[in-house]
């Protein structure tokens, strides 16, 4: 600013004025900018765009509805309406008079009478109140000064009111009479009108919806103008507020507020649902609105081609209706001029990109039956979005929601498009798509099986199956589930030392499919020095196990068996329900180990006693008994022993190295002893004991007891990091070691997911470069499970689900008796691997894949390769089902709880045609009850149902006739004891057992419609309830048309006839 030399003036005022003007402009511009910055929100643009989309959609819908109207019908209706109108015109005079009369009555009398009555009624109310209160002091024994009634109660007042009321009601009756008369005159015309409206209902609805968002100056500009938009804006933030679900801000929890639907505007509307395969809108209106620009473009393209090939345009519209076809494909097929296509493609692809982005934004939730909609179990107003998806639900700006890209490409695209960056200041960014199911555990954590649980459910199964909880404490698993590996308390009698060493060193050397992970020769311990140490450690483990192995001497010798017979038995008796035999191509089940080279590992004598009675070697085993006879067992042993990999040798065991062993022991004892004590201790031991001591320290170090029972480690706890709250871990708590995770050269994602993914891929990854600085004892110890990428994805998703929850108990599934019974039962079913053989609860029955039925109905065994996506109901035909373990659908309604309980304890032959045996699991009562309750719970009932059913002899004899007529014995066994020979036609259970086995209410239901209970069942439908016809009584002589009686009669017959059943001898086996 210009100083001046003139007296009495510090600065030149004219210059200051200019500066002032400049400052004024500045402040004006910045103020406008400020208001605009506050006003201009990305979600408003999105809502505007959505409104345009909706306008287009609704007008198209209206058009479509218009086209759907049957023109003829409309014409007829119109004619009817005009006829009615004309008829009305004829009696116009009378109608007018009537209307006039009604009007007069209403104005002059009715309203006046009503008014007078209402006044009087008000007075009466007041009067009554005062009277009652004037009485109160007398009743209560004290005097009240506040309520006085002048002149006491006024009965005449009531009378007056009554007469006024009568007058009013008379008027009302008169009015109603007139109205009825008028209505009668108008009835015909009204009916015609409403028929017309009904036809045009869809059109009108669309019109009305469209009217609400119609484009006009007021809606588009005035309502949403800056500053004015506080009044009635058309663009506004939409939100749900949920009191029961809390966001945790450490010092306070606050109710969840989700505003996701401010931009995801079609999320809960079926009109906006999209096809999961083509990712296009399912509803034609929405699709058209979204793709109309593309249609215009395509039309122009066709025009530009200049050759109006007949049908090309029609084909285009077919393309637009056929979601499966791609634009590329269409273009390739329909143009000879490839240059034009190439030029056009660029525009079209841009347009497609735009469509894709908008579709992504406006689409409905992919599973509206399960989420969002008000009829679903998770309505949006009760659950919101971020309770599952995480992220910052309150935000209405793309970046501040902390959306999470699903992969690197998307991350890069988002960075470019939305200036996306990692969530540094939000602890729980959104779960990437494909991992959202991690949030299911917030409420469904206690459910061992979660249909629709996706990656979370798969991950949970892997964690349970591979025994992660053995080393890592996981609430609800550690201490609850059984250890994953076999007991080693008697291991010396099972395998030899050379095998044991080789197995511990590299489990996959013997059995590539083993669940046992690899601890040794991993990336951080395969250096020459560490290798020497780990070899001595494994020697120590073996020495410890053999020293601490209890004596177990198999009681009897084994007879020589027949290999071919053994093979047949192995394949048909049920071993394959849990085990696989890879070299024979039998890989459907993998609950138990693969037995491909079992002859290299075990002795015949040991195997004989193991399969004969697994619990004699290991009382806690999950392996059930198949009640094999000595001959059967010998045959199977012979077969199994023949399964040897020629030339397979255990890995060589290095010699004991005393120096290394001492060194290792010194390091291990370092934390608990002084140096001279260590020396003393080591000197006091001989070489063998030192090795055993090393083994003990090594087992403690690697936590072998997490999966195996080992003597001396009965009370040891998990050695790994607790994972119960892993999903809450802050990234700073994860050690990224020396791996670059920052900036442009990052090798890994700096996120929980990135860290855990690498850890599972190679558990020693984060030691890279640290092998040289860490001491041997400090090296990472987690073993390598050899997970596939898919498995890693699932397990990481499971880990993300381990979180403290802030969901109110009201929002969680109610812990009813049925719910708890089903959960407990499912847990047991998983442990026992019931699904290996049986199909129920939408799962299992894979064993059936080993069987097919040839043309003459003989069941043939076939080897089946690895488990694929397999649906029992769809893939296993009826006849095959007759020869494989039965489907257990509707079990809770079907069998008597008592029978099921006994059967589980002691299986009896029910279907003699099936060669497979229901094993004896040795369940205790508690477990058997759990299964019985689960089956009841699956049918939403409790076990405590009592029936007062008593068979009626008369009905039973009628039933017998029907039974014979139906030739039921052709398929159903109907014998009082186990038959020696089973006819080939037999496919179904022994009906002599029905009275002790079936619930009396079930048989009629089953007869009425077997397919509704067991889709694809062999049982024919004898009773056609629609046509009231049954083939069992074609001329209707017995039943006289009462089909229900017929079903009931058969039921009575079965319940009666089964009483002679003899306890089968089979259970003695």
């Amino acid at each position: 600013m210009a100083r001046t030399n003139r007296p009495h003036e510090a600065y030149r005022i004219a210059t200051l004025n200019r500066w002032f003007a400049l400052s004024a402009v500045c402040i004006f511009v910045t103020s406008v900018w400020l208001i605009w910055a506050d006003y201009d929100r990305s979600w408003k643009d999105i809502q505007r765009d959505f409104r345009a989309f909706e306008r287009q959609r609704l007008s198209y819908k209206q058009l479509q509805a218009q086209n759907n109207i049957d023109v003829e019908k409309l014409k007829n209706l119109r004619a009817q309406a005009s006829e009615a109108n004309e008829a009305l015109m004829a009696k116009r005079e009378r109608v007018m008079t009537k209307r006039e009369a009604i009007k007069t009555l209403k104005n002059n009398l009715y309203h006046v009478a009503k008014q007078q009555y209402n006044f009087e009624r008000a007075k009466m109310g007041d009067h009554r109140y005062q009277t009652e209160h004037a009485l109160t002091p007398e009743l209560l024994g004290f005097k009240c000064h506040y309520y006085r009634v002048e002149g006491g109660p006024r009965p005449e007042g009531c009378k007056e009111g009554q007469s006024l009321r009568d007058r009013f009601l008379d008027q009302e009756d008169a009015l109603n009479r007139l109205q009825t008369e008028l209505d009668a005159m108008l009835a015909e015309q009204k009916a015609a009108e409403s028929a017309l409206t009904a036809v045009r209902r869809d059109v009108n609805a669309a019109q009305k919806a469209h009217g609400l968002i119609e484009s006009n100056f007021f809606t588009d500009v005035i309502r949403d103008a800056p500053i004015l938009d506080f009044l009635v804006p058309s663009l506004k933030i939409k939100q749900v507020v949920i009191k029961d679900i809390r966001d945790d801000y450490n010092f306070a929890t606050v109710q969840k507020e989700d505003r996701c639907m401010t931009c995801h505007l079609g999320i809960d509307s079926r009109e906006h649902s999209i096809d999961p395969n083509s990712h296009r809108f399912v509803q034609p209106a929405a699709r058209h609105a979204m793709e109309s620009d593309l249609i215009v473009l395509l039309n122009q393209f066709i025009d530009a081609q200049g050759q109006e090939a007949p049908g090309l345009r029609e084909e285009l519209y077919t393309y637009l209706d056929d979601a499966a076809m791609t634009l590329d494909g269409w273009l390739e097929e329909n143009s000879d001029n490839q240059d034009a296509v190439a030029a056009f493609k660029i525009t079209a692809i841009q347009e497609l990109e735009k469509i894709r982005a908008r579709t992504q934004l406006y689409k409905a939730h992919p599973d509206l039956d399960l989420y969002m909609s008000s009829a679903s179990p998770h309505p949006i107003k009760d659950f919101g979005c971020s309770v599952c998806h995480e992220g910052r639900g309150q935000a209405t700006d793309f970046g501040r929601v902390f959306h999470e890209p699903k992969n690197q490409e998307q991350k890069q695209a988002w960075r470019k498009q939305y200036d996306w960056h990692e969530a540094h200041s939000w602890d729980y960014p959104q779960l990437p798509s494909g991992r959202v199911t991690a949030s299911c555990a917030k409420c469904h954590n206690e459910e061992p099986k979660l249909t629709g649980g996706g990656a979370y459910e798969r991950g949970r199964r892997i964690v349970e199956n591979r025994g992660c909880f053995g080393c890592h404490r996981i609430e609800g698993m550690t201490g609850v589930l059984r250890k994953r590996g076999p007991s080693l308390t008697r291991v010396a009698s099972k395998i030899d030392r050379a095998f044991a060493y080789s197995w511990v060193w590299a489990p996959k050397h013997f059995r590539p499919s083993t669940k046992m992970p690899a601890f040794f020769s991993q990336t951080n311990n395969r250096g020459p020095d560490t290798l020497a140490r780990t070899e001595q450690e494994v020697r120590g483990i073996v020495a410890y196990l053999y020293r601490n192995s209890e004596a177990y001497v198999p009681p009897q010798q084994v007879d020589t068996g027949d290999v071919a017979q053994g093979k047949r038995l192995f394949e048909t008796v049920g071993c394959l329900g849990c085990h696989s035999m890879t070299i024979e191509g039998q890989e459907v089940n993998n609950h138990g180990p693969d037995l491909s080279a079992i002859g290299n590992k075990l002795s015949a004598q040991w195997v004989y006693h193991w399969i004969k009675n697994p619990k004699s070697y290991w009382p806690g085993t999950a392996m059930p008994s198949l009640r094999l006879s000595a001959k059967e067992a010998s045959d199977i042993v012979a077969y199994l022993m023949s399964k040897k990999t020629e030339g397979w040798q255990p890995l060589p065991q290095p010699a004991a190295n005393a120096a290394v062993q001492r060194q290792l022991l010194r390091e291990a004892l370092n934390t608990s002893m002084r140096r001279d004590e260590i020396k003393q201790t080591l000197d006091d031991l001989n070489a063998e004991d030192r090795e055993i001591m090393l083994g003990q320290k090594t087992i403690a170090k690697y936590g072998c007891f997490g999966c195996h029972d080992i003597k001396g480690f009965e009370k040891s706890g998990p050695i790994g990091t607790e994972l119960s709250r892993w999903g809450e871990k802050f990234i700073a708590q994860l050690d990224f070691g020396l791996i670059s995770h920052h900036g442009k050269n990052a090798e890994v994602d700096f996120s929980r997911i990135g860290w855990a993914t690498e850890k599972l891929n190679n558990p020693r990854f984060w030691d890279r470069g640290k092998e040289r600085t860490k001491s041997f004892q400090e090296l990472l110890k987690m073993p390598n499970f050899g997970f596939t990428q898919g498995e890693i994805h699932s397990v990481v998703t499971f880990l993300l689900s381990r979180r403290n929850q802030h969901v109110h108990i009201r929002k969680r599934p109610a812990k009813t008796e049925t719910y708890l019974a089903v959960q407990a039962g499912r847990r047991l079913v998983r442990e026992l691997n019931c699904h290996g053989c049986h199909y129920f609860d939408d799962e299992g029955g894979d064993l059936a894949r080993y069987w097919y039925i040839d043309s003459v109905g003989i069941p043939i065994f076939q080897s089946a390769k690895a488990k694929s996506d397999f649906s029992f109901v769809r893939n296993i035909p009826g006849p095959t089902r007759g020869h494989v373990p039965p489907v257990l659908l509707d079990q809770g309604n079907k069998t008597k709880p008592r029978w099921l309980f006994d059967f589980l304890h002691n299986p009896t032959t029910l279907r003699p045609q099936i060669k497979m045996r229901m094993p004896t699991f040795g369940l205790d009562d508690h477990q058997a009850n759990a299964l019985v309750r689960m089956f009841a719970g699956l049918e939403h009932r409790s076990v405590g149902d009592h029936s007062t059913f008593a068979p009626n002899a008369q009905l039973a004899s009628m039933g017998e006739k029907l039974f014979k007529a139906g030739q039921c014995e052709r398929c159903h066994m109907f014998a009082n004891r186990d038959p020696k020979v089973v006819p080939e036609s037999i496919l179904a259970p022994n009906l002599k057992l029905a009275s002790i086995r079936l619930q009396p209410s079930w048989t009629p239901r089953w007869l009425a419609d077997p397919q509704s209970i067991m889709p694809g069942a062999n049982m024919p439908n004898y009773f056609d309830l629609q046509a009231k016809y049954t083939a069992l009584d074609p001329d209707n002589t017995l039943l006289k048309g009462d089909l229900a009686l017929g079903m009931e009669a058969i039921n009575h017959y079965l319940m009666m006839s089964g009483r002679s059943y003899v306890t089968p001898t089979s259970q003695a086996r």
Partner: protein, 361 residues
């Protein structure tokens, strides 16, 4: 080459080097103003700083720190401080030159010219006020508030930093017991600043800029304010990373870095390293040397100071009470750089360390 320059800059920012450089700069600025207050030289210096800043911006790590929304005002502050200091110093130097040449001072030139407050003062204040408001508008639109994750008692930020204006105090916590750095020192700063007008007996420099007439006062202030306050704020903001470890401006803030930070007390140096006698049992015996040293510093040094050099003049001007108060405050101020130097040279933790009674100096 660039990496080499960055390494050199990183090394220069090491606390010990940095404090020494800052102190020297402060001394030179006060005693040799002619070296830098010329407009061209100053412009060149500022250009150099701006160049350094721009050069540094190309470094990702530097950018991360310098562009943090809450660090931007600190960068502004640095440039503004240097500019206004220069204004004061250059006027003072000009006045000194004028006085030498027998010319009237700058302020005397229009001393007899009187103008009205309105419009001559208020108008420009209004204009400046509007411009600043506009600037704040733009700032608030363009730079988002630096909000962080919800605060958690279980997880405090690393590094945990005081508000920027207290980072100087926080730096003192590295060298002093929290009781000293957090209670005694801040109280003394406030009380000392309040006492200054009553201690200062020099009537010169009122209403005009000068350097030569108040060299000690200005030098002392510059040392206290620039070196011990502002530059420690800069250091706390830009060079103190996770775990309050030191990081150069181009270093990655690695939370896993483990610099050597072993420090020992004076008693240990004396009894274990020098005398080799082992630590005495009783704390009084153990800490006696330290207590004596601190006693000597605060009680014996002031009378001695009164006998030497410039302080002798002060003593004569001020009189005993004022002088002892002044010398106490001065010595307290100097205790920070002294303690810093002892830390770097001897790894000294505390001069007096009586953990038995929670008393450490």
């Amino acid at each position: 080459m660039i990496e080499w320059v960055k390494t050199v800059i990183n090394a220069l920012c090491e606390p010990q080097v940095y404090i020494v450089i800052m102190s020297l700069w402060c001394l030179v600025s006060v005693w040799k103003p002619q070296w830098w207050v010329g407009p061209k030289r100053f412009a060149a210096m500022m250009c150099f700083f701006v160049f350094l800043y721009i050069f540094s911006i190309f470094d990702e790590q530097f950018r991360l720190i310098a562009f943090k929304a809450d660090n931007i005002p600190i960068i502004f502050m640095l440039f503004l401080l240097v500019f206004f200091t220069w204004v004061g110093f250059s006027r003072g130097h000009q006045n000194d030159e004028r006085r030498k040449a027998g010319l009237p001072l700058i302020e005397e030139e229009d001393a007899d010219v009187k103008v009205l407050v309105w419009p001559h003062l208020l108008y420009i204040e209004l204009i400046v006020g509007i411009f600043v408001t506009a600037l704040l508008f733009v700032w608030s639109i363009c730079i988002m508030a630096p909000l962080e994750e919800p605060a958690s008692a279980a997880r405090t930020p690393n590094p945990s930093k005081a508000p920027w204006y207290f980072l100087g105090l926080q730096e003192m916590l590295v060298y002093f017991d929290p009781w000293m750095a957090g209670v005694v020192a801040p109280s003394l700063i406030v009380l000392g600043l309040m006492a200054l007008p009553y201690i200062d007996t020099n009537p010169k420099g009122n209403g005009y800029y000068t350097l030569s007439e108040r060299r000690f006062a200005i030098g002392g202030f510059c040392f206290g304010f620039f070196v011990l306050w502002i530059s420690l704020i800069l250091m706390g903001t830009a060079f103190r990373g996770p775990n309050w470890n030191f990081f150069g401006p181009f270093d990655y803030w690695d939370p896993h870095a483990q610099p050597v930070l072993n420090n020992i007390n004076l008693s240990e140096i004396l009894y274990l390293n020098v005398l080799n006698t082992g630590l005495p049992e009783h704390w009084l015996v153990r800490e006696l040397p330290g207590i004596l040293l601190v006693g000597a510093y605060t009680l014996i040094l002031p009378p001695l100071m009164a006998k030497i050099g410039r302080f002798k003049v002060f003593y004569a001007d001020m009189g005993a009470p004022r002088f002892y108060l002044f010398s106490f405050l001065f010595l307290m101020m100097m205790s920070l750089p002294i303690k810093m130097i002892l830390r770097w040279t001897l790894n000294l933790k505390y001069i007096v360390a009586i953990p038995e009674y929670f008393f450490n100096v």
